[in-house]
Structures are given as structure tokens and as C-alpha cells.
């Protein structure tokens, strides 16, 4: 027994070592990657935005929004000084306002996306999807189908969705619908934020950094295009000029960088 006991102990240690290292082959070590949280805080007329609540637009139209969501994809981190750009892989996200909160916390785990450590002075992403993803073959797995973002195989996806009601005494009924389903490649929006104004974004392995973006939902109805909701074309924008107007509005000051928290 005196001879065996060390052997058993050694075997246990060896087994534990093998187990440890074999586990590492299958699961990424979180400490090897940085993590990023992008917080989208939604506001309407500078008040916390709530679904199912009436607001007055720049055109003095009364609206109530029941649904508000959009696709964020192709996130790119840029160090303009060094001329480096790094893209995330398999990174498609749906940002939505819930009944419970105006805030959507987009958590990006570095292990599955290849989040690049470094010092980044710009970030860029799409509101929508690139053409290859938007027009994937019919039988290919679809994104966000549970959320109704997939439209059809000719148009691809809805990039941005707002559904609500417009109230006016001039209507046949007290309210009617206001729908903005914005898709089509010509409505793809690319946003780029200068992070240096808030201090650069530092991504460090094993640590989580945070970006906070303020989202001004009221901007959907103004600048450059003042939306008059009594114009029925703005009540159902599925394509055509009204969709372009909405898209131009949300391309302009809709998402604003608020703050950066580095580890």
C-alpha cells in the first residue's frame, strides 16, 4: 500500500491535469478576451421613452408607440491613428425597447465574437444587415424570425420597426395606425461614432467595458424631414418615399454617444 498510494495520488493529479487541459480545448477562457456592453437608452423629447404612452411630435402630432426595435450588425472597432480596423464575427443583434425598460443592454462576449483588445477611437456599425446576410437563400436559417424582422425573400429583413398609433380628431376613428417598417438595401444606415470625444474605448482581456448611447426616438419625426402624420403615406411606411424620409431622420442624431466606461 505504501507503494501504491503515491501512484494513486499521482494518477489523480494526472487525471485532474488532463481534465483541466482537455476542458480548455472546448471552452474559451473568458479571461482571454475582453467583453463589451453597449447600453442603448431610449428617450422621447428628452424624457425616458415608454411604450404605450402618448407623446407629441415636432409637428404637434400625438403618437403612442407600441413597438420599437432595430437590427445592429457589422460592428467595427477603429484605431484611426494606427490605421487598424477590426470587425466582429457572427455579430447580429436586435435592440428593442421592452414594456419594462427604455434601456437595452447589448452584451457582447469577446469569446464568441472575437472582440479585439486594444485602444479604439471610433466604432462603426450598421442599422440593418449587409446584402449577403439580407438576401441569404430561402432555406437558410433566418435571424430574428421570432421578432418578425424577416420580411420576405425579395426584400430581406426589416432593419427598423416602429409600430404605434396616431391620434387626431380629424380621423374617422379616434386613432389610426402608424407603421414604419424600414428595409431595402438603400435604407441601410451606417453609423460611426467618434469615441475620442469621451475618451477612447479600451478593451482589455478579462474585463468589461461599456458604451452608453442615447437614442432619441422623437428624432424619427423631424429633421431633415418634418413628418406630418395626417399624411397617410407616413401612416404606413413600408418602402417608397415615406420610408426614405423616416430613414433619413433616424440617420441624423438618433443615436448619440453619451459615455464610455473603461475597466
Amino acid at each position: 500500500m505504501r507503494i501504491l498510494r503515491p501512484s494513486i495520488s499521482l494518477s489523480v493529479v494526472m487525471f485532474a491535469l488532463v481534465l483541466t487541459f482537455s476542458c480548455c480545448e472546448d471552452s474559451e477562457d473568458p479571461a482571454s478576451y475582453p467583453n463589451l456592453s453597449i447600453q442603448f437608452d431610449h428617450y422621447f423629447n428628452n424624457n425616458v421613452f415608454e411604450l404605450n404612452k402618448q407623446y407629441v411630435t415636432a409637428n404637434q402630432d400625438t403618437v403612442e408607440i407600441l413597438e420599437h426595435k432595430y437590427i445592429v450588425s457589422n460592428i467595427v472597432f477603429i484605431n484611426s491613428t494606427q490605421g487598424i480596423e477590426r470587425s466582429l464575427k457572427n455579430a447580429y443583434y436586435l435592440v428593442k425597447v421592452s414594456l419594462d425598460s427604455h434601456r437595452y443592454q447589448l452584451s457582447i462576449p469577446g469569446s464568441s465574437t472575437g472582440l479585439p483588445p486594444g485602444n479604439w477611437d471610433k466604432i462603426r456599425f450598421l442599422i440593418g444587415l449587409d446584402s449577403a446576410t439580407n438576401f441569404a437563400p430561402e432555406a437558410a436559417p433566418k435571424l430574428f424570425t421570432d421578432e418578425g424582422m424577416f420580411w420576405d425573400w425579395n426584400t430581406g429583413y426589416k432593419f427598423y420597426v416602429m409600430e404605434g398609433r396616431y391620434f387626431s380628431k380629424d380621423l374617422q376613428f379616434p386613432s389610426t395606425g402608424v407603421i414604419a417598417h424600414i428595409g431595402d438595401m438603400h435604407n441601410l444606415v451606417e453609423l460611426e461614432f467618434d469615441l475620442s470625444q469621451k475618451g477612447n474605448l479600451l478593451l482589455e482581456n478579462g474585463k468589461t467595458s461599456e458604451l452608453v448611447l442615447n437614442v432619441h426616438v422623437d428624432q424619427l419625426f423631424v429633421d431633415p424631414n418634418l413628418v406630418n402624420l395626417s399624411d397617410s403615406s407616413f401612416q404606413q411606411a413600408m418602402g417608397g418615399p415615406a420610408a426614405v424620409s423616416y430613414r433619413q431622420n433616424y440617420s441624423n442624431g438618433y443615436w448619440v454617444l453619451n459615455s464610455i466606461s473603461n475597466p
Partner: protein, 378 residues
């Protein structure tokens, strides 16, 4: 000595944990008493279509639980009068509906709402017309205890099953037990229900590139998925609520919709508001699957429409405004001067032809989902 004690405790623990009847040691008093030889875990194979939204199968699905669940689904002993099973209101030939406007209860009472079709439940996370349960397990047990539907306590249900020797082996193989718990009943029925995947309709074969739609069906498909733009793009706008892939709908913050059946003064069923207590949810109901819709009439939560033509007429020109009507109902107009959908008759026919492409004959005839008692005398 202490080490020996540990070994003894370990072996004792192992012995207890390895008892295959889940803590009911076999102690036969007579030669006829059933002895549970232990659980059998044959993994349940369910093919998940690649083009459906991604889902993971719950852990622990087995053929044995499925088979037990299938028997329980069709077991009339689970009703007080021994006359009604889940399968009474959810008949396979009708895509697990009953062909009635509203369900009929155990004692002949007309129930409040129609029996819902059961298929592709893995892709749903709320159940019943008013979404009052958030788990399939709850959904499986509620009708047994409902006084109008099956009217048994779960304790009574278990007593009845324990008296039936048929279930000795079924429960043993599924769970390794001879004493049943409500959770066993729920889990077994859920195993059965999750396996009810309907994905072999003509539309599925079209999606897989195996079959073409006729010109009329293709027109119907395009109308189904298209939100209209007055004067330019005709559309029936079904897909905004009925997901064009799975054709059920959980879209929106809570997935519940008021589809304009009644004006506010005529509400007789508050729907989701009964669950949330919030007036913004008044007269909202679950947007149901359209799969096998040809077989699942009458339609709507109260079965008010007997035919698909009546359903289309409602959406085309019969909407009633109320404060909670879904905006998609009124912001969907082919005619810019009207609040009505305004489809032409040939377009309505085309949508209906497309809807018939959702009939899955292999699903409603699959012997795995059939009543196991039909061929035997009970």
C-alpha cells in the same frame, strides 16, 4: 476504520441512488405485483427544420416519456366521467382541434373559447388564447383540473392511473417509478406535445426547394407576406403578425393582438387583460398558428367564422375599431381612400389557396401521434 465507514456509506448511497424505481424498492407481496426494472432512456428523435427559428430541445426527451405522454393525452380516465381526454378536444385528423366553434366541456357546457390547434409548440412560449400559462407543463395539467373540462384533482388522476396496470410499465420505463407525481404526468405529455412538429406541408416543401407553388398559390404567398402600399404594392399583410416561416405570431412586446373583431362596446371577452389586469391588453388574444388552417375551423378565439372566406372578409372589410386594436389592422390599406384592406376577390382567393398549402397531411396522419387506445378494447 474511518475510511471503511466512508466506503460503507458510499456503497449504501450508491445502492439507494441506483434503485431503478426511483425510491420505491420492489417488494412484491404476490407473484402478480409489478416490479419496476428501471427507467429506459431512449433519446426521442425530433427533426427540427433548419429554416424554423433556432430552438434547443429540452433535455431528457425520451421515447418512453413520449409513449407515456401519448397514452395520457388520449386517456379518458383523466376526466371524472371517464369520457373525455385531451384528444377529445384536440383530434389529430383536425390538426388537434375539434371542429367546434367553442369547446364542449365534460358535462356538456359550452366553453368560453375554441380548442387551439397543437403543433410546433417548441416554438411557442405562451399558451392558451389568453397566454395565461408560460410553460407547456402548466398547459398540460390545467385542463385536467379545470372543473368544466376534465374535473379531476391531480391526486385523483394519479390514483386512477395507479390502479391501471397498463401504466405500471409505461411510468416505469419513462421515469423508473411506481409512485407517480403530477410532474411525471406533465413531463410525459410535454414530451408528446413537443414531438408534434408539422413541417411537411406543401409550403415546407416549397421552402426546401422540393416543390413549386402554382401561380395562384404564389400570388397568395406574396400577398400574405406583403404589407400593402396604396396604389403601388398590393398586400394582404398577414405576415406582419403571422411569422412567414412558422406562420404563428408572437410579435410585439408581448405577442398579443386585438385583431378588430369587436368594437369596444361589444367586448364580451377581455382576453389578455384577464391575465395582466391592464386595460391596454383588452380584447387581445394570441396570434395562432396558421399551419393546417384548412383543418382547424371554425376560426378565432370564439369560433365566429366558419370558413376561411369569412376570415378574409373580416380582415378585408370587417374590422371594428377599438382603443386596443392593433395598429397593423388599420395601417394596411390597398385603397388610399379607405381604412379597409381592400383586396380584390381574386386576391382573397389566392391567399386562401396559399393557406391551403399549409395543410400537412403526413402530420395529421402520422401513426405516432394517433390514439393508442383506438385499436384496443379498454
Amino acid at each position: 476504520m474511518r475510511r471503511i465507514s466512508y466506503y460503507l456509506i458510499f456503497i449504501a448511497g450508491l445502492t439507494v441512488s441506483c434503485q431503478k424505481n426511483g425510491g420505491n424498492p420492489p417488494a412484491p407481496d404476490s407473484d402478480n405485483e409489478f416490479v419496476c426494472e428501471g427507467v429506459t432512456n431512449t433519446p426521442l428523435t425530433i427533426d427540427l427544420p433548419t429554416y424554423f427559428p433556432p430552438r434547443s430541445l429540452p433535455k431528457g426527451l425520451t421515447e418512453e416519456k413520449f409513449e407515456l405522454g401519448r397514452h395520457l393525452f388520449y386517456e379518458k380516465k383523466l376526466s371524472r366521467t371517464n369520457t373525455v381526454s385531451c384528444g377529445s378536444c384536440h383530434q389529430q385528423s383536425l390538426a388537434f382541434t375539434d371542429g367546434l366553434a367553442k369547446g364542449v366541456g365534460l358535462y356538456g357546457d359550452t366553453l368560453r373559447r375554441a380548442s387551439m390547434s397543437l403543433s410546433n409548440l417548441l416554438w411557442e412560449d405562451k399558451f392558451f388564447w389568453d397566454s395565461r400559462t408560460l410553460s407547456l407543463e402548466e398547459q398540460a395539467l390545467q385542463p385536467i383540473e379545470d372543473h368544466l373540462e376534465m374535473d379531476l384533482t391531480l391526486e385523483e388522476a394519479i390514483e386512477r392511473l395507479e390502479e391501471d396496470s397498463l401504466y405500471d410499465e409505461l411510468f416505469c420505463k419513462a421515469f423508473g417509478v411506481t409512485e407517480y407525481q403530477p410532474r411525471h404526468i406533465a413531463e410525459a405529455i410535454v414530451n408528446f406535445e413537443i414531438a408534434l412538429v408539422s413541417s411537411d406541408s406543401k409550403y415546407d416543401r416549397y421552402l426546401r426547394g422540393k416543390e413549386s407553388l402554382s401561380l395562384t398559390e404564389e400570388l397568395g404567398r406574396q400577398l400574405f407576406v406583403t404589407h400593402p402600399l396604396p396604389r403601388s404594392v398590393p398586400g394582404a399583410n398577414c405576415g406582419d403578425c403571422h411569422n412567414p416561416l412558422l406562420t404563428n405570431g408572437f410579435l410585439g412586446p408581448n405577442g398579443m393582438k386585438n385583431n378588430g373583431l369587436d368594437s369596444a362596446e361589444n367586448f364580451t371577452d377581455l382576453g389578455f387583460e384577464e391575465v395582466t389586469g391592464n386595460p391596454v391588453d383588452r380584447a387581445k388574444f394570441k396570434t395562432t398558428t396558421l399551419r393546417n388552417i384548412e383543418l382547424t375551423g371554425p376560426y378565432m378565439h370564439d369560433g365566429r367564422f366558419k370558413t376561411l372566406e369569412e376570415v378574409m372578409d373580416h380582415y378585408n372589410e370587417g374590422l371594428n375599431w377599438s382603443p386596443t386594436i392593433d395598429p397593423l389592422m388599420f395601417a394596411s390599406n390597398n385603397d388610399p381612400n379607405s381604412l379597409k384592406l381592400g383586396l380584390m376577390p381574386y386576391e382573397i382567393d389566392a391567399v386562401i389557396e396559399f393557406l391551403k398549402c399549409l395543410t400537412d397531411s403526413s402530420f395529421v396522419n402520422d401513426p405516432r401521434f394517433s390514439d393508442p387506445f383506438e385499436a384496443t378494447v379498454k
